[in-house]
């Protein structure tokens, strides 16, 4: 059993989209899919807007490993719940999804489709990211850069190309729940600003401007504000359209530690 899991994992890691699944995997996955996933995604995988699971069109995932991870862990802040599927089980669901996908290469991204990335050059984009764009001043990739702005290590699996393009032009658009900035003022008058990590009725957790993990009691606060605007500048006028495409291409290439 352990060996089977290891083999499957190896197969997935080595050849993520080569459809190297057994018929048993696919049948098993079909059963699991219809029992657990079809509820929300529909029998044909198309009931959640922007996602066509059986046509290889995902919003946040491209590789099999991405999908397995999402099947197992869910997507916090969305209606996609975590499951108790083992990696083997999640892998068989992927086998089923892949078996149903049309033979043509799937559209790499959700709503936006294959927009923008074809035009950009990721290597040029990386260079722009580090120099003219000054993105690395605030963002972090692969463990390098500050932690206060969103970590972009796997941004290519999180946002589609079109959305990344929109964000560069208008940073205040489509702010994700995990990227909220808050400012707290204590009763003593101290100001603490940072990225909101979590909150409940009695407490607030954040990463402050000095990259400290801070937990505050709401009782100790005089004021607590959600900042409406992103601290990021717009690149509408700073980068040319071509340069924007290059940066998007670079960002799309960032697939995390387990691409």
């Amino acid at each position: 059993m352990t060996r089977a899991i290891a083999l499957l994992a190896l197969a997935l890691a080595a050849a993520p989209q080569e459809h190297s699944y057994t018929q048993a995997d696919i049948e098993n996955g079909a059963r699991l899919y219809q029992g657990s996933c079809a509820g929300c995604h529909g029998p044909n995988g198309d009931m959640v807007p922007g996602i066509e699971l059986l046509r290889g069109q995902f919003r946040r995932a491209t590789t099999d490993v991405d999908i397995i991870k999402i099947v197992q862990s869910g997507i916090p802040g969305t209606t996609m719940p975590p499951t108790s599927f083992t990696e083997t089980q999640a892998g068989s669901i992927v086998a089923y999804l892949r078996s149903r996908a049309p033979a043509a290469p799937p559209a790499p991204f959700g709503r936006g489709g294959p927009l923008t990335i074809a035009r950009g050059d990721a290597a040029r984009g990386k260079s722009l990211y580090e120099t003219k764009g000054q993105c690395a001043t605030c963002h972090r990739v692969d463990g390098r850069g500050p932690r206060t702005a969103p970590d972009l290590t796997e941004i290519g699996t999180i946002r589609p190309a079109a959305e990344l393009h929109d964000k560069l032009v208008d940073p205040n658009t489509n702010i994700r729940q995990g990227n909220r900035y808050v400012e707290a003022v204590t009763k003593r008058g101290d100001k603490i600003a940072g990225r909101l990590l979590n909150q409940d009725t009695f407490t607030v957790q954040l990463l402050d401007a000095n990259e400290r993990l801070v937990s505050l009691s709401r009782n100790d606060l005089k004021d607590f504000t959600y900042l409406k605007n992103s601290p990021m500048p717009s690149y509408r006028d700073t980068l040319t359209p071509g340069e924007l495409d290059d940066v998007v291409a670079y960002l799309v290439s960032l697939k995390g530690l387990r691409p």
């Binding site: 529909g42 029998p43 729940q177 409940d200």
Partner: protein, 551 residues
């Protein structure tokens, strides 16, 4: 024989107080308020007030509550599912269900287990929203449980062995039993969940001794039944019309009426296949419990497109209404309104919003919502969201305070986009899933809340049942799937998704105490006593937590 005598002698010599354990007759259930140390039904009594007459824990001493014991069945092999059950307590023994269908008998003072019963479940079981169970019923010395694969099982309360086991409905078609059954006289009454699978709902009564079905009331009437004309003629829409049953009903012995709330019509989010008001979905039905005959019905949301199940607990009480005592029913509905109905006749007395509502501009004098929004192909933004203003988790009514306590989802919204819905046996039959800013059913492991208040928050709200006035609000940063318990000493218990279980002053809403249970509360609290000590129990995550005052 000698052995038994010896045991008794040992018990006497060691001064161990072995409590008498009498049969739970229906008369005891009818008068559950006479034995406040026990909790004999899902809601604590057939009027479903979720109100405990116990008074040891008070607003003055609640800060001294502390954890007594925790029970969790989970081995590493078992998938973790949220626990939604309310335990029963009978003479010092607690009976409860851990998801999906593990029944346990525990020493209610220590949490140590007497026995466990785990039926073998069909792999065909399919559930929309979790492999859960909300609790047991007891009559005599027999427990009754519905299972996610559609069986009703009678279990010997002394041994945990099944006495009978009947297949009520077909799991492969999406029928599942998640509700705690209700006992009326000699019958066990239950109905199926499955409103997302195109089921045709029903309420059915079974002989408690034998498991033989006594009657069945179809919540979606067939061609020969009254109400069928609320479904399109010449189609089979009614055969997949929903009207599921997944929350326990109530019973009034004077009127001899059994009340149940019914679930959404199918398909949930595309009403095109089912023009009409779609009786008796999203309704309360009042039945003769001896025959299953319908006495009256009231439909909260005719022709629903927003998944506003009326699977809430019918809360029964008698209040002064315009100068005279009336037998009423209080009902906080998923659709955002809370209602007062005459429970003898079903007459609509009042309906008012308790959260932000935009799909209807109030309710007319006949009790019909003044609807202004529908699902569209482009998408319609609707308050409250798909999970509703409240849901299956119980509200509470304190007859002493005259207050109705509602666990509420505040300022939540969904966008409903009409999409195709085709019935295929065993598959979901819903339409297009609406958007939500708040996770629908359960939080992820390590869930965080980084939402702004505009994206939804939670509250326990207290309304004066007579005047309709909002008395207080206890605000929470996240929504809640917790039921509410009130007590005769004006303490209100509830919890939320944030993983707190807390006590409030029932008159003012002031926070008296909180305990960190570390996981989502998706169950109702209950209270009981053993040897004169009051306990409060709550399921959170997939474990059961029990509190009492520090000694």
């Amino acid at each position: 024989m000698k052995f038994r005598v010896a045991l008794l002698l040992v018990a006497a010599a060691g001064a161990v107080a072995v409590r008498a354990q009498q049969l739970v007759t229906f008369d005891r259930i009818l008068h559950a308020d006479r034995e406040p140390q026990n909790w004999l039904t899902y809601s604590g009594g057939l009027f479903s007030n979720r109100y405990s007459p116990l008074t040891q824990i008070t607003p003055a001493n609640a800060r001294n509550l502390e954890l007594q014991w925790v029970f969790q069945t989970r081995g590493p092999a078992e998938p973790v599912e949220k626990s939604e059950a309310t335990p029963l307590v009978v003479d010092g023994v607690m009976y409860t269900v851990m998801s999906p269908n593990h029944v346990v008998a525990l020493d209610a003072a220590t949490g140590r287990m007497f026995w466990m019963y785990s039926p073998r479940l069909s792999p065909l079981a399919r559930v929309c929203c979790g492999r859960v169970n909300r609790g047991l019923a007891i009559l005599g010395d027999t427990l009754f449980m519905g299972t996610i694969d559609g069986h009703l099982i009678a279990i010997d309360a002394k041994t945990g062995r099944a006495a009978w086991d009947v297949a009520v409905s077909k799991p492969e078609l999406g029928y599942s039993l998640t509700v705690a059954p209700i006992i009326v006289k000699d019958k066990v009454i239950i109905g199926p969940a499955g409103g997302e699978y195109g089921i045709r709902g029903f309420i059915a009564a079974f002989d408690a001794k034998t498991g033989k079905e006594a009657w069945r009331f179809n919540t979606v009437p067939g061609p020969d039944e009254k109400g069928h004309d609320s479904w399109p003629a010449g189609t089979d829409a009614w055969e997949h019309g929903g009207g599921s049953i997944w929350v326990t009903g109530s019973y009034d012995p004077d009127l001899n009426l059994l009340y149940f709330g019914t679930g959404n019509p199918g398909p949930d989010w595309n009403a095109d296949p089912r023009p009409g008001s779609n009786l008796y979905t999203d309704s309360v039905v009042a039945l003769n419990p001896d025959t299953g005959e319908l006495k009256w019905h009231y439909q909260f949301t005719p022709h629903d497109e927003f998944d506003y199940d009326s699977t809430q607990v019918p809360v029964l009480t008698d209040i002064e209404w315009k100068g005279r005592q009336r037998k009423v029913m209080l009902w906080a509905n998923r659709n955002g309104f809370w209602y007062v109905l005459d429970r003898a006749t079903g007459e609509f007395l009042r309906g008012q919003p308790f959260v932000r509502v935009n799909w209807a501009e109030g309710i007319d004098v006949q009790g019909v919502p003044k609807r202004v929004l529908n699902a569209t192909p482009e998408g319609t933004l609707v308050y409250p969201n798909n999970q509703g203003a409240t849901n299956w988790y119980s509200p509470s009514y304190s007859p002493r305070a005259g207050l109705f306590y509602i666990p509420s989802w505040m300022d939540t919204y969904s966008t409903y986009t009409k999409g195709p819905a085709e019935y295929k046996a065993g598959n979901q039959y819903v339409g297009r899933f609406p958007t939500m800013t708040v996770p629908a059913l359960r939080t992820a492991p390590g869930n965080v809340n980084t939402r702004t208040p505009q994206e939804g928050w939670g509250a326990i709200q207290a309304f004066d049942a007579r005047t309709g006035e909002l008395k207080w609000q206890f605000k929470m940063a996240d929504v809640t799937d917790s039921g509410v318990l009130s007590t005769a000493s004006d303490v209100v218990f509830a919890g939320g998704r944030e993983g707190y279980f807390f006590a409030l002053n029932g008159r003012t809403g002031e926070l008296l105490w909180k305990g960190n249970v570390g996981g989502q509360v998706s169950a109702g609290p209950m209270s009981y006593a053993v040897n004169g000590r009051q306990y409060v129990a709550i399921n959170a995550g997939s474990a059961l937590f029990v509190y009492a005052l520090r000694q």
